[in-house]
Point group: D2
C-alpha cells in the first residue's frame, strides 16, 4: 500500500498516486507522465484509473496522455460537459486493493469540482484522507472568481462544500490538496505541505469564517489575476489535450541561428538569473528566470510564436521545456548552445540593465530628480506596502500598459525582491525604453534598511 | 519547510528528518547516514540536533556517527543513563526555523521513551504531528516485555502514555512512529504507513481497550520473541556505537578463498532466494534470503565469526552489508565473485534441498509414513493454524533445539510461505540432517488448496 | 569532440555515437534509442546522420526509430535493396564538425557491408579510427556463412576487405567493431574491447592467414549456428522495422492470471538463475536465465506466442523486455508479481530439477547404470572436450530433437557450466521427460576435478 | 577486462582504472576517490595497486587516500625521494589478471616520471597501450620548465623518452595521457581525447621535431606560467597528503553570516557566470566562475583564508568544493544560501560591473578618450593578437601588479571571451578601482566584427 505525492515545481501543482495489490490510481496527473509509469514499475502495479478533481485552468492535465499509455479509465465530475472520460457522482465508490475512493461533489472553485475520500477497507469507514482538488488547501481555500457572473453562487457553493461536506469527514482526515505554496491558485497557502482537516479547522483563516454570508463577502472581496493562458488550458482540459508521446528534445542553436530566427519573429526567452540578465543579454529578449516561468509565461508568451531559450546549461533548458509543455507551449525551436557567451563572442551586440541599490533609490526618490519607480507586484502586495510615488502596474499587465509610461526619464523596475522587476525591465527595454535600472532587493531590501520613502497600508 | 520519512527496509525502521530555514533535525537516525547528509545538501540546511525517541534494541542508532560528521547535538530521555548526548525532560522545547518540537515523556516500551510533538509556530499551538518512537504505531502499540520483572509497570506506563499524553494531542495530529509494517517491534502493524491520532483512536485495536487493567492484561498476555542480538544493540545504544566513517566495501572472493575461509571457521551466508538455495548451495552455508536477514540474522549470526556472502549480484551484497552493519555485524570478509556458479564450476561439491508440493505433503501426512513436519513460524501463527502432527520450533530457537529432533526420518521444513522454512532447512543440513525437504508455499498453499490436515485454533 | 561506445549486454552489440560542434552521428543504433537522445542532450548536439554498417541479422536496428525522433538521415551500403534510407558508396565522405567519416566498402560478412573511416580534419588525413561493423572484431573476423551458396564468394570478399582495405589504413587506426565478446557473430572475440588495427595485424589469429586460399579454406571450414530468428531480423532490417515509440511496460500478473494465460497457450519464460529454476518452477515453463536470453531466445521463442515472465524482481523484468524487444519479441503479456513465491503460495503445483555433482556424475557414467548424458554445447566445444558416452544435441536444436531421445532413463543435462543445461532441462520437462537432473558446474567442474570419463580431441 | 578513463573537469586531469579477474589498478587517482570505489564494486574487483606517473604539481594526488581505504600499495619512480609508497624501476612488471603493466622510465617533465606499458598476456608482448603521464599528450608533449636551472637537461631527457622509449612501442599503441585539453600542463592539447602512438607520430607537432637540438631549443623557448599553488601540490605529493575521509559538506550561510565572516577576513568567491557577477555581486568578492576555478584558484586563493562561496545552486557549490579540495583548498566555511538574492534582499549594498560591446570599445580606442584596456590573457595569446594600445598583465599576475595601473581613468578588462576579464574586473574593484567595465566577447568578438584596432603578430 502506497501513497505518493508528486509536485510540479513552479506551478506548485500536486498530483497523487495511490496503490495497493496489483492496481493504482492517479489523481490529477501532469502532462509529462513518466513519473507515474516509473512508480508503477517500481511498485508492481497497473494504473487502472485516473481522477480529475476538476477541469484545471493552470496547466494541461495529463489524463489523456496517461490513459493512452496505460489503458486506464478517466473520471471527473458530471457538472461539466467533458469531451472525454466518464462522469462520476456523489457517492460513487472505486476500489484499488484495500483502498477505497468515494466521490464527494464539492463545487465552488468550479461547478464540477469533486473531492475523493480515501478509506482503508482493512480499517472501517473512517476517512483516512481526502483529495480536495482546489476546494481546500493547507492554509487557504480555492478561488471562486473564475466564472464571470457566478461569483456569488460559487462562493456559496464552496462554503457548503467546506463546512457541510469536507469538515464533517472528521479532524483525523489527512488533507491532500491539488496545490502547495507558490501556486497562482491561492494567495495564502502555508509553506508546510502536510496537514489534516482538524488542523485546518483550527487554523485555516478561511475556515474560521463559519458564517456563510461573511464567508461569501470575504471571497467576493478577493482580487485575483487571471492569466490569459487559462483560456487555452480550460479548452484543452475540457476537450482533451492532444497526445505528446514525448517531451520536445533540447536542440542546440548557434548565435547565428538565434539571430536569424529572432529577426523572423521568434521570441528569445532568457531563463537565467535576474543578475545574469542585467549583466548582459540578447537585445529584445524576454527575461523569464526559470522559477518565474510557470507564473508569468501565461501572461507574456504567445502560443503562435516560436521560442528560443537562453540558459546557463542544458539542465535548465530541459526543466524549462517540461514547464512550458505543462502549459502547452510546445513551439520550442531550440536553445543557444554555449549560453550567452556564444552570443557575446559572435560579436553581436548585447544589452545590459543597470542595478540600483535600495539606499540610493531611497535617496533619489527623496531628491528633485526622482526616477519613475515602476512597481510590478500584485495589487495586494502594493496596497500593503510601497515606496512613495511608485507607479503600480502588475507585471502580467505590463505589456498592455507600456504606452501609459513616460519614456523621457529613467525607469526603475521594482518588485518584492528584484526578480519580477527584471522581467519588467526586459519588457521595457524590448519596447525601446532607453534608461532602465533594476532595483535588486526591491521591497525586501527597502524594509530591511528602513527606507524613508516606505509607505504601508497604515501610515499611507 | 520539509518533513521526510526514511525507511530502512527489512527492519522497517522509520527515521525522520525535518527542516526549516537553515536548520534541520533528525529523529532516530540509522547508522548509514549518507541519506541525511544528502537531504541536508539538497535542502540547504545544517543538521543541528538529533533526537532518539528511546534506546533502540533492534538496530544500532546512527546518532554518534551523524553527530561526528555534522556537529549536531544528541538528545534523549533522562530515565536511562546514556554514555553520550544530553538528557531532555517533559516540556523541553526545541526550535528549527518555524517548526517546534516539544518533549513528551512517554514511557512504556522503555522507561526513557519520549515522544516529540511537532508544532508550526506560524499556526498556533495545535499539534501538527507527533513522533511516537515505539509507543504508538499505525495499528499497534509498543512492546512492554523487554524489561524482565517490570512488565506490569511498563504496561501501565504505556497505558498512561497513550491515553493521558498522546491521544489528548488531538485527532488532527499526524502520527510518525519509529516502525512500519514488518518490524520485529510489533505484530499487528498496518500495511498503511500514514495515519493520524484520530484514525488510530478509532481503529487501532489496542486503543479500543481504554480500561487500564484490561489493557495491562492484554499486554502481559502477549508473547514476543527476543532475538539475542538485542543485547548488543542495547549496549551500543546506551554507550554510543563506535564510528564507522564508511560502510565496508564489497570484496570479491574466489571459490577457493571461500572454501578456505569456511574451513577456518567463517560462516557462509547465502542471500539468494529460497528456490535458488534449494537448487544448489555451498555445503554448510546458512540460507538467509536478503529480505529475511534483518529479522533472523540476530538469532543466527555471531558477532565473532567472519561472514562470507553469496548472492546473485553485487547490488544484493551491498544491500546485505548495509543491513548487517545496522545490526553491528561488521566482520564481512567478502562475497563469492560470480555467485554460486563460481563454486559449481570450481568442481567443489554443492548441496540441494528437495521441494515438496502442498498436496503431496498433505497426502503424506495422512499416510503411514509421515515425515517429521517442522513448523518454524512464530508461536502465535502456529497456534492459530497448523497441519496435523506438526512439530513447532520457532526459527530463531532452532539452532538450540536441533538435538531434540529425530534424525532418522525425512524432515519437511514448513512456515508461512516456504521462505523461513529454507532457513530452517539450511540449519538442519548444516547440522548433518540427511533427508530434508522444503515445503514451498507452506501454510499459504495448504490453505489455498484446503489441506485435509489443516487445523485451526477453532477446529483443533 | 566525443566518441562514445554503447554496449547492449547479452547481444554484445556495440553501437557508437560521435559528435563535434552542433552535430552527432550514430553508427548501428539499437532499438531502444533513449541512450542516444540522452547523450545528444548532454553534449548539446543534434543527431543528423545514422549509419548502418550492414543489414544486421542478430537484432533489430534502431535507425528508423531514431530517425523518426530526430529527423536524421539513414545511410547504408548500396549492395542491398533497402526499403528505407540512402545508399552510400566507396569514398563518400560525411562531416560532423571537425570529424569526417569516409565510406569503405568492405563486403564479406554481407555483400553490402561498409566500414567508416574516422579522421580528424584538424590533423590531416591519417585515419584516427575505423568502424568495421562485422568485418573485423578484436580477436576475430566476421562470419561469411550467412548467404547459402555464396560462402566462397563471401570469404574471398572478406579477405580482400581485410587485407586490401582495412589493414592498409595503418597500424595507428583505432578499431571500433560492431560486436564485443559474447556475440553470436563470432566465436573467438577477445575479452578486451579496445584495440588498434596494428594490434590486430599482429595478433588476430585470422589476420595471420594472409594467403587468400588458406583464409578462404579456414572460413569455409567454420561451423556456425544460424538461429531461426535471424530471418525475422533480416526482414525487418531490410524493410525498416515498425516504430515502437516506447518499450512495453512491465505489467504485473497474479498467479491466477499466469495460470490461465499459460493454459490458453502463452509461454512462461523463467528468467531466474539456473539454481532457482532447479529449486522450484512453474510446470511447463521455459528456463531462460537473463544473460542467456539474447543468445537462445531466437531459437526457443516464437513470434506468435504471448510471453509471461518470471523473475526475481522488476529490474530483471525490465532488462528482459529491452533484450526481447531488440529481437522483436514484443508480445510480452506481463510478469508474475511476487515472483515464484506468488505461484507457490497460491497452492499451484511447482516442478523442480535434481542437481548432480560432477564426481557423482563421473562415477555414475563409469557404473553399469549410466544416465543419458545430454550435452547441449556447441559442436566445436563438444568436439574439443566431452565426457565419455555423452549424447550431443546443440541447445538451439533441442526442441526439434526431443523425439530422438530415450525417455526411459534418467537424463542428465550438461553444458560448459550448467547454465545452458538448465534450459535444456526445462525443455525436457516441458516435453514430459520425468527424470531429469542438471549437472551444475558441468564441463568446468569435470575438468577441475579431473573426471575419469573426460575425453579430449586428442585422447579420444 | 576493463579500462576506464576518469576525467576531472577543469583540471582536465585524466586518471585510469584497469582491471581483470579479481584485481584492479588505478593510475594517478584524484583525491575524491569514491569514483574508483564505485567502479571496483560494479566490476567486482579489489584495487590492489596504485601507480603515480610522477609527482604531480597541479593537483593533490589521491593515492594515500585510496590506499588507506583499499589496502592497495602505491608505486612511483625512484628518481625522487617520496615520503610514502614504493619505488619502481625500468622493466618492473606488474600483473592484474591477464593484463600486465611494465615500467618505462620516461623523465623529462620531471626526473622521476614513468610511463606504464599495457600488454594483454592473452596476446603476446605487443603493447596494447601506454599510460604516459605528462610525457606525451594528444597533440602536445609535457612541460620541461618546472625545475629551475635544469630546463635543458629535462628537455633532453624528454626527447629521449619520447623518441627512444615511447615511439618505439609501435604505432598500434593506444595513448593514455594524464591530461586532456584544457589542462595548465600543456598549451596545445587536441580537443580529441583518443589517439595512438602512430597517430601522434604522424601529427603531434612536437614529434615532428626529431632532431634533438631543435627539440630542446623549441622546449626552452616555451613560456609557461607557474601558479604559486604548485609549491603546495609538490610538497603534498612528495610527502603524502593528509587523509580527508570525506569531502567537506556544503554548509548554508545567511547574508548576515557572510557579511560578518567577510569582515573578519574571509574571502567571498563568486562562482556564478561572468554576466551574473557583472549584474550584481557582493562588494569585495572575487569572481571565479566555476569552470575557471581550477585554472586560476591557484593564483588567486590563499591557503590560510576561509572561503565563502556564492553560486546559483547547491550543485555548483558541491562541484566547487570537489575542485577546491583537489587543489587542497579545504577551508570552505560555507555558501550563501539563496544565492545573491539573499544578499540583495538583506538590504546590503551590492556592486556591479559595466559591460562594453566590442564595436563601442573599438570606437573608443580610436577616440581621444580611450580607456585603459587591460588584457589579461596569456603572453602567447597577447603576442599573437591584440587591440592597439592594450596593456598586458596576465590574470594570474594581476594581484601583484595592481599598483602599476592608473586609477584615474576607466579600465576595460579584456581577454579571449570576456570570462577571465570578469575575474580581473573583480580584482580591480576589490582593490578600489572605481570605473571598471568588462568587454564581454573580448577578442573573439573583436575578430568576428573585424575591429579596426586589431593587431596581429604579423601586421603589428
Amino acid at each position: 500500500m502506497f501513497l505518493e505525492k508528486l509536485k510540479s515545481e513552479g506551478l506548485a501543482h500536486l498530483s497523487y498516486m495511490i496503490g495497493d495489490g496489483m492496481e493504482a490510481v492517479v489523481i490529477d496527473p501532469r502532462r509529462d507522465i513518466q513519473c507515474y509509469l516509473d512508480i508503477a514499475a517500481r511498485e508492481g502495479v497497473r494504473i487502472t484509473r485516473i481522477f480529475e478533481t476538476h477541469r484545471n485552468e493552470d496547466y494541461v492535465i495529463g489524463s489523456v496522455e496517461l490513459a493512452e499509455r496505460t489503458g486506464a479509465s478517466i473520471h471527473h465530475g458530471h457538472a461539466l460537459d467533458f469531451g472525454y472520460g466518464e462522469d462520476v457522482r456523489e457517492g460513487d465508490t472505486f476500489e484499488c486493493g484495500a483502498l477505497r475512493l468515494r466521490v464527494l461533489e464539492t463545487p465552488g472553485h468550479t461547478p464540477e469540482s469533486i473531492s475523493l475520500v480515501l478509506t482503508d477497507s482493512n480499517q472501517g469507514e473512517t476517512p483516512v484522507g481526502v483529495f480536495t482538488g482546489d476546494a481546500l488547501f493547507v492554509g487557504d481555500v480555492g478561488r471562486t472568481d473564475l466564472l464571470p457572473g457566478r461569483e456569488r453562487e460559487m462562493a456559496e457553493a464552496l462554503h457548503a462544500s467546506l463546512f457541510d461536506k469536507l469538515l464533517p469527514l472528521g479532524d483525523q482526515t489527512l488533507l491532500y490538496p491539488a496545490h502547495g505554496a507558490g501556486s497562482v491558485c491561492g494567495e495564502n497557502m502555508a509553506d508546510r505541505e502536510f496537514s489534516t482537516l482538524g488542523h485546518e479547522r483550527a487554523h485555516n483563516p478561511m475556515l474560521q469564517i463559519t458564517d456563510r454570508e461573511a464567508f461569501v463577502k470575504c471571497k467576493l472581496g478577493e482580487q485575483h489575476y487571471v492569466p490569459p493562458y487559462f483560456k487555452q488550458m480550460e479548452h484543452l482540459n475540457q476537450c482533451g489535450a492532444p497526445l505528446l508521446h514525448h517531451l520536445p528534445r533540447p536542440l542546440p542553436l548557434s548565435a547565428d541561428d538565434v539571430a536569424k530566427r529572432q529577426e523572423a519573429g521568434a521570441c528569445v526567452v532568457d531563463l537565467r538569473s535576474a543578475e545574469a540578465f542585467a549583466g548582459a543579454h540578447i537585445p529584445g529578449s524576454l527575461a523569464l528566470p526559470l522559477d518565474l516561468l510557470p507564473a508569468y509565461a501565461g501572461y507574456l508568451l504567445d502560443y503562435d510564436t516560436d521560442l528560443l531559450l537562453v540558459a546557463e546549461n542544458v539542465g535548465a533548458v530541459e526543466d524549462a521545456i517540461a514547464r512550458l509543455v505543462r502549459m502547452d507551449y510546445t513551439r520550442i525551436a531550440g536553445y543557444l548552445k554555449g549560453g550567452l557567451g556564444a552570443w557575446e563572442t559572435s560579436g553581436r551586440r548585447f544589452g545590459h540593465v543597470d542595478a540600483i541599490n535600495a539606499d540610493d533609490l531611497d535617496a533619489r526618490l527623496q531628491s528633485g530628480d526622482a526616477p519613475l519607480l515602476l512597481d510590478v507586484r500584485k495589487h495586494t502586495e502594493f496596497k500593503a506596502k510601497r515606496l512613495r510615488g511608485a507607479t503600480h502596474v502588475f507585471l502580467g499587465h505590463l505589456p498592455d500598459r507600456l504606452d501609459t509610461l513616460a519614456r523621457d526619464r529613467r525607469v526603475v523596475t521594482f518588485c518584492g525582491s528584484g526578480k519580477r522587476a527584471i522581467v519588467a525591465a526586459s519588457l521595457l527595454k524590448r519596447d525601446g525604453f532607453d534608461d532602465v535600472a533594476n532595483a535588486f532587493g526591491s521591497m525586501a531590501a527597502c524594509e530591511a534598511i528602513g527606507c524613508a520613502t516606505l509607505e504601508t497600508a497604515d501610515n499611507a
